[in-house]
Homo-oligomer: 472 residues x 2
C-alpha cells in the first residue's frame, strides 16, 4: 500500500554523510556543535545508519535535553545499547531528566548488575521511587506500561479551583498531555475522572464531585496483561487509562500512544508464531544471528521429528506402493492440500481468538462452521483433482489403465484430507487455549505436519477401498 | 496470556434473560423502559447475544442519546445492520446526533441507494457537509479516519483569550477530548499546535504565535494510507494528528483511539494473508459462510494447481522411483522441511516489512543473512535426518543394504531444500513489493507449494548423484 505523495522528510540523508565525515576525522568538537543543532526526530531517523560504536560516540556528544528526547523515541534495543555504554558523566546528567517510565521499561531488559550501577547515579529520591515502583510489576503488565507521574484533583474543589490547581500543576510536574484528569481521595484512592472539556463546560462554582464520572469500568489492575489492556482501550475508545492497586489506589496512567506499541508487538509475536517459530524479541536486523537461528531451529526440529512419522507411515504402506507406484505421484499434492486448508483454518481461528471474536465456549459453533467449510472446500478441490486426472492428455501412459479409479481415489482423499485439515486447524488453537497454552503455537507448519501424517493414512485407506481388486 | 484477577464485569448476563423474556412476550413498552435504564456499554456488551431481528427491535426502542452512544461502540457490521433496518422516525432523530465521522465510515460500506436515502434524513447542512467531505476520501486513508469537527485558534490571540475561546467552544461544538489545539489562519491553513499544558503554563498575555509549535513533521495529507498514518502515530508518539489538504488547509483531526482499530485491522489482514487466504472484511462469526468459503477457496485452488506440478515432477522421476522405491518414503519429510523453513522466512520478512524494519534496499542484507540461516538450519536438520536413518533399528529391512547412501542422500537434500526454502521465503515478499504487489501475498502455503515442486527436483538430483552405481 505505497503512497506516492507522502514520504517522511528524509533530511537525514543530507547530514548523515557530514556526521560520518566528522566522525572519521575525529573532529569531535565540531561534531558536537553540528549534532546539537539537529532535531531529535532527525537524529532518531538517522540512527540506523551508524554502527554501535558510532552510536555510543554520538549519544555521548548530545546535550542532555536533546539526548533525553532522542532516547525516548529510539527502539528498545538501541535504548539498551545506550544505557550499557554511556560514559559516566553523561549518564549522571542524562538519568536525572529521562522519564521514569521509559527508564523502567529499559531496566526490565538490562542485567541486574547494570541496573544497580545506573541506579547509583539517580539523584532524585522521587525518581528512584517511581522507577522501583514500575520495576515491581512484571513486564507486559499494565503496571509496566503506566506513567507513575500524574496529577489528581480532590473531589470537593470547585471547577474554578480545579482549573487553577491544574494550571499550577502543569507548571511544575507533568510533561504529558492532559486528556482526562483523575479524582482521588486523601489516601490516593481513585474516585472518578473529569474530562477537560467538562471542566471547561461546568459553571465555575460547581463541585468536582458533581462533574466527575465513574472510572469503575475503565480502571485496570496493575497486574493485568498488556494484551487485555489493549483490548480495553479499543473497547472503550480510551485516550488514557488509570491503573489501580487492589485497594483501588491510583498507581499511574497509561496513554493511548503506548498501547499502539503493545498492539504491534503482540501482533508481531502472533505472526511469528503462526509462521512456525518462537517470537523474536528484537527487530529483524537487530537480533543476533545465533539467537535468531535458535528461535527458528527449535520449531523446525520439532516439526522435523513430527514429519519423520510420514516416513514410518509410508513404510507401513510399502506393499501398496510396490503394487501401485502411481499412488506415490499424488502424495505431495494430497498432503499439501490438507496442510494448506489446515493452515488457513488455524490462522483464522488464532487471529479471531486474539481479537476476542472467538472464545472457548464458541468451540461448537466454530466446529460446525468448519465442518461445513471443510466439506465445501474439499469438494471443490476433489472435483478439480478428478478432472485433472480424467482429462490429462497422457493419462493412460502416466497413470495406467485404471486412471478413472485413481481419479476417484485422489478425489475422495482430497475431500477427507481437506475436511480433516480444516477441522484440526480450527480446533487445535481452542484445545491449546483450553490446556492453558498460547493458541498461536498451533502454527501453520505445525498443523500442516499433523495433517501430513494422518493425510497419508487417509489416502492409502481410500486407495485400498477403491482400488482393491483392480490395482491393489 | 490469561489473567485470572480481572474480568470485564459481565453484568449483561443478568439482564439479557430479562430482555429476551420481554421480547418474547412482546411487552415493548416495558422493554423500552428497561433498556433505557441501562448504560451504553452494557448494551454493547450484550449485543452479540441477540439475533439480527431482535437487534433491530431493541435499537429502535433506545432513546436518541443512548442509541448514538451504543452505535458508536458497536462493530462495523452491526452499525451497517442498524443503518439498513432502522425505522424512519427513529432514523430521523438518530441521524441528527450521531458523530459525522462514525456515520461516514459506515456510509462507505453501505450501498449507494441506502446512503442516499439516509442522507435525505439529515437536517443540519453542516452535518451533510462533514459527511460528504469525509466520503470524498477513499476508505483506509487519513481522510476517512479523521474527525472533521475541530476547534482552531488564531495565532494573535493571547493565552488568556485562547483559554476563554476554548471554554466557550467546548460549550457548543465538540464532544471529543482536547489534547492538542491547532492554530490556523483566516483561510483555515494549519500554522501550528498548542499543547494544552503549554497553554496553561504560558503567562496570560503571551501570544499563541509564541507558544505554538510547528506541525510540519506531524501533519499528514488526507489521501495518506492508514497503514502509514499508524506508523506516523507510533513514530511521533502522537495522541492526535492533524490532516491537511495539498494547500495545507486543516481538514480534520485523527485521535489515537481510532488508530488502535487501524493497527488491529492491518495486522489481521496480514495474518490472514500469511495463512494463505484473502483477508476477510468482517469478524469470523459475522462474515457470511459463502463469502468466507470464497475467500478461502480461491487461494486453495491456486495452491492446488501449483501443487499439481509435484505430480508432474514425480512422473518425470518415475524411473528412479521404480528402481528405488525407498526414495518415496522420505518425500513428505523432505518437501515439508523445505516448506516449513520457507514459511518461517517469509513470515519473518513480511512482518519486518510491515513494521518498516526491512525495506526494499535491504534485500542484499536480508539475502546474506538468510543464506547463512538456511545453511545452518539445513545443516542441523541434515544431521538429524542422517542420524535418524543410520541409527534406526529396522534400517536394513526398511531402507535396504544401501541405507548409508540413502542417509547421505536425505541429508544432502535437506541442506539444499532448507537453504532454498529459506531463500525463496525471504526473497519473495521483497520481489512482490518491488513489482508493486502486497508482500503478504507470499503466504506460508504459497512458499511451501513453490518449495515442494523444486524440492522434489533437488531430492531426485541428489539421489541420482549419490546413488548412481548402487541403487540407481
Amino acid at each position: 500500500m505505497a503512497n506516492g505523495s507522502f514520504s517522511t522528510p528524509k533530511t537525514y540523508q543530507l547530514f548523515v554523510p557530514e556526521i560520518k565525515r566528522l566522525l572519521s576525522l575525529k573532529k569531535l568538537a565540531e561534531l558536537e556543535k553540528f549534532l546539537n543543532a539537529l532535531s531529535a526526530f532527525d537524529i532518531t531517523d538517522a540512527w540506523k545508519e551508524f554502527t554501535p560504536d558510532e552510536k555510543t560516540i554520538l549519544f555521548n556528544l548530545l546535550k542532555t535535553s536533546l539526548s533525553v528526547k532522542v532516547f525516548e523515541t529510539l527502539d528498545m534495543p538501541d535504548q539498551k545499547h545506550i544505557l550499557s555504554t554511556l560514559s559516566d558523566d553523561v549518564t549522571q546528567a542524562f538519568l536525572q531528566d529521562v522519564p521514569a517510565d521509559d527508564l523502567a521499561r529499559v531496566f526490565h531488559k538490562l542485567p541486574n548488575r547494570v541496573v544497580k550501577h545506573l541506579f547509583s547515579y539517580i539523584k532524585k529520591a522521587e525518581m528512584v521511587r517511581y522507577v522501583n515502583e514500575m520495576l515491581s510489576f512484571p513486564e507486559h503488565t499494565a503496571g509496566s506500561l503506566m506513567d507513575p507521574k500524574f496529577f489528581t484533583l480532590k473531589k470537593d474543589l470547585t471547577a474554578h479551583q480545579a482549573i487553577t490547581a491544574l494550571s499550577a500543576a502543569v507548571h511544575t510536574t507533568t510533561d504529558e498531555p492532559l486528556v482526562d484528569i483523575y479524582v482521588a481521595d486523601g489516601d490516593g484512592r481513585l474516585l472518578g475522572q473529569v474530562a477537560l472539556a467538562d471542566l471547561f463546560r461546568a459553571s465555575s462554582n460547581m463541585k468536582i464531585s458533581e462533574i466527575m464520572t465513574s472510572t469503575q469500568r475503565i480502571q485496570v489492575p496493575a497486574i493485568l496483561d498488556q494484551e487485555k489492556v489493549a483490548e480495553h482501550f479499543r473497547k472503550f475508545d480510551l485516550l488514557s487509562c488509570p491503573v489501580v492497586d487492589p485497594e483501588g489506589k491510583l498507581l499511574g496512567i497509561i496513554p493511548a500512544s503506548r498501547i499502539l506499541d503493545v498492539v504491534r508487538e503482540e501482533a508481531t509475536e502472533d505472526v511469528q508464531k503462526i509462521g512456525g517459530m518462537e517470537a523474536l524479541d528484537a527487530p529483524y536486523f537487530q537480533i543476533g544471528f545465533f539467537s535468531m537461528v535458535k528461535k527458528r531451529a527449535g520449531w523446525l526440529l520439532v516439526l522435523f521429528v513430527g514429519e519423520t512419522f510420514t516416513a514410518s507411515a509410508m513404510g507401513f504402506f510399502q506393499a501398496e506402493l510396490e503394487k501401485a507406484l502411481v499412488l506415490a505421484l499424488f502424495i505431495p499434492l494430497i498432503i499439501s492440500s490438507g496442510g494448506n486448508s489446515g493452515s488457513q483454518a488455524t490462522t483464522l481461528v488464532i487471529r479471531a481468538m486474539a481479537l476476542g471474536e472467538v472464545r472457548l465456549r464458541d468451540w461448537w459453533k466454530v466446529m460446525r462452521r468448519e465442518i461445513a467449510s471443510g466439506l465445501t472446500l474439499g469438494g471443490i478441490l476433489g472435483c478439480f483433482g478428478l478432472l485433472r486426472i480424467l482429462l490429462w492428455p497422457a493419462r493412460t501412459t502416466l497413470y495406467g489403465e485404471h486412471y478413472v479409479l485413481i481419479g476417484f481415489t485422489v478425489a475422495a482423499s482430497l475431500v477427507g484430507i481437506v475436511l480433516w485439515g480444516t477441522l484440526a486447524g480450527s480446533m487445535l488453537p481452542l484445545i491449546l487455549r483450553r490446556l492453558g497454552f498460547d493458541p498461536a503455537a498451533a502454527s501453520a507448519p505445525f498443523v500442516a505436519t499433523l495433517v501430513d501424517v494422518t493425510g497419508l493414512v487417509i489416502y492409502f485407506t481410500a486407495a485400498s477401498l477403491i482400488l482393491s481388486g483392480s490395482l491393489l
